[in-house]
């Protein structure tokens, strides 16, 4: 086993002795240049794809089961097949609006290997017959925007993007678009609204999903940056090589960022499906344990929106079909670790504040409920909350997510797991996400909240034997 090397030019990324599908170029300081890209097999996947019929390429991606890496985990090839046959034009929108708390991979892929992403976009457009591609990068990512703009300019000049790519009949424009700071725009229909120049509020769905009715009312495929970055490797090596890595239901690799109280926080490209949370948190080639060898208190397994896990769930693998029933989700590949010194109510407050702040205001339960949750929790954290406040949190939460809210099992507390997903009264996941961390925290660490409550002790009143004589 090689020891993990941190590349100073890919801040946070830790390589290892594992298959590298999307991070193969990260070891080079100039990985973002077209020279390095071409010298390391760049655009070979595109060439290979163009040498086959588009439907063939689509089939190849479908049989590889490339799971969407944005959070929902929907297979990309299947998604492409959902567009209506006889409606034109169709669009590709690349979701580079990464802002889920803890998530940190798309930015690296855009900063460190923008050409790989461009190649992935081209393959997707070719396979699914998409006429134009819009690459939506989060507004705050200045370096990613600069790197992708440079890469696009280079690719246009070299004939990889634009009219008659590589001299073929395949022509597509990739337009760089950038946002201006709104978490909710990471939701695909909000992304489309934002791309149309509107306020980034999600659209009601069902009935219409973007694949049928998206950008300008046309069929639109929205794919995550990491999903598309997988395609060049897949084209070169084939779907059999891809599915040989990982498990049948979760093939390939995925990028996971582990942050918080671990010895070596970092972004890792791990084997999908087989790697467990214990490997990641304690493995020598990954995080190497909890800081100061403290005890693990809890961890967020899949980005800020995910219900929390404790040490009981460490042996679960990165496999949606196992993490879901255990009460949480893999989401966007972000683990945030809390050690025994963590103030749980305060930690939950940072996340609830985030979602309350990022609510777009379209659905009432999220707009009002999220803010209520934050205010009530703030009272508790500051030490002025009461027992009624704790009850109120759960009641407000039940208005955003009626029914049993998913949570992990816990042996010590005698809790059985409530499986994912939850019911919700909002269009998108921002509302439930404000409640998720709070619900987990209260369920798993109720005593920490109770310790902070103001106790109202009733004073016994003695009966007055004679009426007061004030009227006399």
């Amino acid at each position: 086993m090689t020891t993990a090397i941190k590349y100073p030019h890919a801040a946070g990324f830790v390589a290892g002795d594992r298959p590298k599908i999307v991070t193969s170029r990260f070891e080079h300081a100039d990985s973002y240049t077209i020279e390095r890209f071409l010298a390391t097999g760049g655009y070979a996947g595109l060439r290979k794809a163009l040498g086959r019929a588009a439907t063939d390429v689509h089939e190849e991606v479908k049989s590889a089961t490339v799971l969407g890496r944005g959070g929902a985990g929907f297979p990309a090839g299947t998604k492409w097949g959902l567009t209506p046959q006889q409606v034109f034009p169709k669009y590709l929108v690349v979701n580079g609006d990464e802002s889920e708390p803890g998530t940190y991979k798309d930015r690296l892929l855009m900063e460190r290997d923008p050409h790989q992403l461009i190649e992935g976009c081209l393959i997707a457009c070719y396979a699914a017959g998409l006429s134009q591609c819009f690459l939506y990068i989060r507004g705050e990512m200045a370096l990613a925007q600069e790197r992708v703009a440079t890469a696009l300019n280079e690719a246009y000049a070299a004939g990889y993007v634009g009219k008659n790519i590589l001299g073929s009949k395949f022509s597509v424009d990739i337009v760089l678009h950038w946002g201006a700071g709104a978490y909710v725009v990471g939701e695909e229909t909000a992304l489309i609204e934002s791309l149309e120049g509107n306020r980034g509020m999600p659209r009601l769905k069902p009935p219409f999903f973007p694949a049928a009715n998206g950008l300008y009312g046309q069929p639109t495929i929205v794919n995550n940056v990491e999903t598309l970055a997988n395609l060049p490797w897949l084209m070169v090596n084939g779907s059999e090589a891809y599915t040989a890595i990982g498990t049948k239901t979760s093939p390939g690799t995925r990028m996971v960022a582990v942050s918080g109280h671990v010895k070596n926080p970092g972004v890792f490209e791990i084997i999908n499906g087989t790697t467990t949370f214990r490997d990641l948190l304690y493995g020598a080639e990954f995080c190497g344990g909890i800081r100061n060898d403290n005890e693990l208190k809890a961890f967020v397994p899949g980005g800020g929106s995910a219900p929390w896990f404790t040490a009981d769930q460490l042996d679960l693998p990165f496999e949606a079909s196992q993490v879901g029933p255990a009460g949480s989700m893999l989401g966007s590949g972000a683990i945030m670790v809390m050690d025994s010194t963590t103030d749980i109510p305060a930690a939950a407050l940072t996340l609830t504040h985030f979602y309350a702040h990022e609510s777009c205001g379209k659905c009432t339960p999220c707009r009002e409920g999220g803010t209520w949750l934050e205010r009530i929790l703030t009272r508790i954290v500051e030490g002025t909350g009461t027992e009624a406040d704790l009850q109120q949190i759960l009641e407000v939460g039940a208005m955003i997510c009626p029914g049993d809210f998913p949570h992990a099992s816990n042996e010590k507390l005698g809790l059985a797991a409530v499986p994912f997903p939850y019911k919700m009264t909002t269009i998108c996941f921002v509302g439930p996400s404000a409640f998720a961390p709070l619900h987990s925290a209260i369920t798993l660490f109720r005593s920490e909240f109770e310790a902070r409550l103001v106790k109202r002790i009733s004073i016994p009143v003695t009966a007055v034997s004679t009426p007061p004589t004030v009227w006399a």
Binding site: A54, F88, A142, L176, S259, F354
Partner: protein
């Protein structure tokens, strides 16, 4: 005067031409306006409305949704300290407290000399490098109190002028689509058939 200048009008038209519908260019154009003036002025929003063919109210509606757009002057350097979970776990609260002491303003405030605006920010996608901050959207990782002081001093002395442009400029490199290479944007209603390469045969 705070409408877009000649050079920026040219850039704006270039950006608008890339989209099948002009309104799509609104967010990039608002950035352009902010780049020119340091914040988004009312006149600029009226001008953008004229350029993309919507009312200024619609421009204002879009602009106010997004956090990066400012409608009042801010400091030359906008210092955003992340306070979301991973950074909070690694001491972002203390860093913010120190920053407030150092700059002499509360989060959200601007220093009297107009150099710095300090702000609390949400997750910046650099969670393993916590606590993080961005100065005009340029990252600083694992920031200690000492690092923060050095950063502020360097910014004051103009040492970082090459790396960090004044507030308003996000990316300094723009996409340019050469006229002879671009396919061009077509309004969706004008497209009536499958793209040429969807004929069941290989493109190459």
């Amino acid at each position: 005067m705070s409408r877009l200048n000649e050079a920026n009008i040219k850039t704006a038209l270039e950006i608008i031409a890339r989209y099948p519908r002009p309104k799509s260019a609104l967010i990039p154009l608002l950035h352009l306006a902010q780049e020119q003036n340091g914040y988004v002025t009312n006149e600029a929003m009226v001008h953008l409305g004229e350029l993309v063919g919507v009312t200024s109210a619609e421009v204002y509606g879009t602009a106010t949704f997004y956090e990066m757009f400012r409608f009042e002057p801010v400091g030359k350097y906008l210092v955003n300290i992340c306070g979301t979970m991973s950074c909070a776990l690694m001491g972002a609260g203390d860093l913010m407290h120190h920053a407030e002491q150092k700059l002499g303003v509360k989060a959200g405030g601007t220093t009297a000399d107009g150099m710095f605006t300090l702000a609390h920010a949400e997750c910046q996608a650099a969670c393993t490098e916590a606590p993080t901050l961005q100065v005009n959207y340029r990252f600083r990782y694992k920031v200690t109190n000492g690092d923060f002081d050095t950063l502020i001093d360097d910014l004051k002395n103009g040492k970082l002028a090459d790396e960090i442009p004044a507030h308003g400029v996000v990316a300094r490199i723009r996409q340019r689509i050469p006229a002879d290479r671009g396919v061009g944007a077509v309004a969706p209603e004008l497209v009536t058939e499958n793209p040429a390469w969807m004929d069941g045969k290989a493109a190459l």
